[in-house]
């Protein structure tokens, strides 16, 4: 269960960012911003190592004491960043991968929407919003 989900465009500006405790949003915004450097590092490291299978899933970007940040990059250089609560130890790598895959599929659907202009903020897509809500933690 994610605490914050962000979609960052190729030019490193946010297309969509949502976090669950809606007070203290700024802290998550900063975390996502700093994780972009790590994402760029991983992407350029992948380019140099002549590995045949380069993955879209980047894995754990960096852990802080309360949260863990995971990254994923698409072929069009759009980055997905997910912040997860550290206390939730039951969350395995496979689950994070499947969450990213769902995000990627929803993002592709948004791209194929003729009413969406690539590069705009993802504001009016209810399907995308509901998919992200289903991934976020339930806070009562």
């Amino acid at each position: 269960m994610a605490v914050c989900v962000a979609v960052i465009a190729k030019e490193n500006y946010p297309l969509y960012i949502r976090s669950i405790p809606t007070e203290n949003e700024l802290k998550f915004h900063y975390m996502v911003h700093t994780s972009l450097d790590v994402v760029d590092e991983k992407i350029s490291a992948m380019g140099k190592a002549l590995v045949d299978q380069r993955e879209l899933y980047l894995g754990l970007l960096y852990p802080t004491e309360d949260y863990k940040v995971y990254g994923y990059v698409t072929n069009s250089k759009v980055k997905f960043v997910m912040v997860v609560d550290s206390s939730n130890t039951a969350l395995r790598d496979n689950e994070i991968r499947s969450m990213f895959r769902k995000l990627h599929n929803s993002y592709t659907d948004v791209m194929c929407n003729p009413f969406y202009n690539p590069g705009d903020r993802i504001q009016s897509s209810r399907a995308f919003d509901s998919m992200v809500t289903s991934m976020m933690i339930q806070v009562c």
């Binding site: 072929n75 993002y107 791209m111």
Partner: protein
């Protein structure tokens, strides 16, 4: 099998519809498809660029959906090969027949029996009409390249139907 025909019919209608506006003998200036003023002279250029723009947006969406799970594009040539194989198969159910390059940013993609032209003629008949039917596909190529990170200029040329060549020039920034 019938799926290919659906796109071909839609494409033919698009070209006919957007081309019809420029030959409309209205009182000097008439409203274009998107509501802007279309003069009778610049009309054909406008409809070609509208077609190209539509192809561009479709290319962007396809460029997002088609590449597989892995980050497979290590260099420019890989992306061009993806265009020739996967993109062409997805849209036209066949691969591009040849890809040539001068290794300095220009690529020529040749299709010996382009599906959107093959129903028209075989040889030199309708040569002047052919460019209208290639505008959408040029936009398609440009859109897919754009979403995969390459800014380019795509032009098409026909020497004899149904063989056509698409020239892709990578814009160096």
């Amino acid at each position: 099998m019938a799926d290919a025909a659906l796109f071909e019919f839609l494409h033919t209608e698009m070209v006919a519809e957007l081309g019809a506006h420029h030959s409309d003998p209205g009182p000097g200036v008439s409203a274009g498809v998107w509501g802007e003023k279309v003069g009778s002279g610049g009309g054909q250029k406008m409809s070609l660029s509208v077609l190209e723009g539509m192809g561009f947006r479709v290319g962007q969406a396809l460029g997002e959906r088609l590449p597989q799970e892995t980050l497979a594009f290590r260099e420019e040539l890989d992306i061009l090969k993806f265009l020739c194989r996967d993109l062409w198969v997805a849209v036209f159910q066949k691969q591009m027949d040849s890809l040539r390059t001068n290794h300095q940013g220009t690529y020529v993609l040749q299709d010996n029996s382009f599906p959107l032209l093959i129903r028209m003629a075989s040889g030199l008949q309708y040569l002047e009409e052919a460019p209208k039917f290639l505008a959408f596909t040029c936009g398609l190529l440009r859109g897919t390249l754009c979403i995969l990170g390459i800014k380019s200029l795509v032009t098409a040329s026909v020497a004899s139907l149904p063989t056509c060549k698409f020239q892709v020039v990578i814009q160096k920034t």
